[in-house]
Subunit: 331 residues, 2 copies
């Protein structure tokens, strides 16, 4: 057994954009377990945009991360040693051990997962929090209906890719927004969206209008900012917008909404939601697991290897440099 | 019987702010009725902020008003002559005859009203469209609950005054926003709101914070603009905002929303609504009529006399110069 656990700590808060100097790699000895404890070797660490909010010391839907502590985050791994009933070495588990190679918790901190039907890493993506966020947004917040048109931003990402595919299964016309021709090709070619607009293409509002000539009933917003402005202009009367993320703002200043008058002019409903506060996770996970294991829900992962790569990969995620769910492989 | 009907026509569209030159007083002969027609002497004309949107030639929740025609608007009056079954001279009726002294319509254009329990003019205010808008916003859109705190903007106006009083009857803490100490005193003293903030006082955000130290669950928005920005900052997690009007923008440029990130940070729900599209008018009118006739719903009117005063009174309404429901008395 190794004697050292490597961790990434948050050591300072960004004054503007987050940088590598906000993080520090740290080593700490592994200590013997106490009764009731379980030690897990983390195999994958999830990197998610909301973590950027935790780096700030101001209230948001993600509570501030204390300085000097391990960055929080979801992990999947394998039990190495257990002094708790119900867990034995070899069990595959989902936990929130954060940016470190090993985690120690009690039974209540762990959820056993079955990697015989879906890969272990998927429990951090389409069969985990991002997938459930997509499911809640589509079913509970937007309550989409067949034959409606839905726009999804960050369409090739962990949440957007699932949201769009779920809506396709429900019979909607789905238009994605993502950055670059390669991601656009993936969104239409692999994920089966009806169209995809490249927000880096220089003519996003026009391209969006061309892709949605009759307007749209619903928008699954993962980014905010100028993409939200452009989509607002495409909303039909009584349109609904689910605000799940605002990546455009996480690493910089607030971006005003250009034309809030449209909320009244078109009687729009805009709702922000946090997946952790939504009820119905069991239903969501059951459906997502079934769709993934039957090949009806596709996903793509961006994987970097080694804990020391986590900060750089995370900063890249905020800039859209990932392509699909961003993971760190720790083994 | 007089031989002439005076009307106010929209003759040009505002390039920026609306002005007196957009309107023209016009005289037209009264012609004999055809079978099925009813002639009404309009007693009161309603002036409402939404009319400003009709003056523009662009889509909004109020359709553009054609040039060269009588400005549209709700009226109450008395039947002078009837060639339709079910209506006789002397009947009190509500109609949409617009800015003119007489109106001619068929039975389907008129609704008989009873001025024995509430005054005729109230059918244009607290027992009419503005009152129903307040009722729908409070009950259907915000779905307020006892012990919540509600902010209402344009609190001394036709809609806001009703919204706040309905919420008080439901056991909420209600904070108004209006312009000037006289209106604030009316809102707290006469209407019974718990507090009122003067948006012209120079320290609106601070005053609003002082009036709502624990934040607010709900906002009934009649104005948009910087008042909306200030209220957004006071919203509690899971707060709801009903957007009923945006007077701050009607007569000028779009005003961006400063911090839309709060929608996600606080998981807010923001919904624009138009009262004409809401179901349940009968329930609303029954309750409003009962409350007014029993003295439990107070209202105040700003009345100018004579059709020729309508344009000036309307422009004043857009600047908040009215104090209560703005009417034009035509008889």
């Amino acid at each position: 057994m190794p004697s050292v656990n490597r961790q990434v700590l948050l050591v300072s808060r960004p004054t503007k954009s987050a940088g590598l100097d906000n993080f520090r790699l740290f080593e700490t000895p592994l200590v013997p377990l106490q009764q009731g404890q379980i030690r897990v070797r983390n195999h994958y660490l999830s990197l998610d945009p909301y973590m950027r909010l935790r780096m700030n010391d101001c209230p948001s839907y993600a509570a501030p991360q204390p300085l000097g502590q391990v960055m929080l985050g979801a992990t999947v791994g394998v039990v190495e040693e257990s002094r708790a009933a119900g867990f034995v070495a070899g069990d595959k588990v989902l936990a929130t051990f954060g940016w470190q190679e090993y985690g120690v918790g009690t039974a209540g901190d762990l959820r056993k997962v079955d990697d015989s039907c879906v890969p272990l890493s998927a429990y951090l993506g389409c069969v985990g929090m991002p997938g459930v966020a997509a499911w809640m947004g589509v079913h509970r917040i937007l309550q989409v209906k067949a034959n409606e048109t839905l726009i999804v931003s960050a369409a090739s990402g962990a949440v957007g890719s699932v949201a769009g595919q779920l809506a396709k299964h429900l019979g909607l016309c789905v238009v994605g927004i993502t950055g670059g021709p390669q991601k656009c090709a993936y969104v239409t070619g692999e994920l089966g969206f009806d169209a995809c607009v490249d927000y880096k293409g220089g003519s996003m509002p026009n391209d969006l209008e061309a892709a949605t000539p009759a307007g749209v009933e619903a928008y699954f917003d993962n980014v905010g900012g100028e993409v939200l402005d452009a989509v607002m202009a495409r909303m039909k009367v009584f349109g609904r917008i689910a605000v799940c993320g605002r990546v455009a703002e996480y690493d910089g200043a607030n971006i005003p909404l250009k034309n809030p008058g449209l909320i009244l002019d078109r009687r729009l409903k805009i709702e922000g939601f946090g997946v952790m506060e939504q009820k119905g996770w069991r239903d969501a996970l059951e459906e997502l697991c079934r769709l993934v294991s039957s090949g009806k829900l596709k996903f793509r992962e961006s994987i970097v290897h080694g804990l020391e790569k986590a900060p750089e990969a995370f900063l890249g995620l905020l800039k859209g440099r990932n392509f699909g769910k961003q993971l760190v492989k720790l083994t």
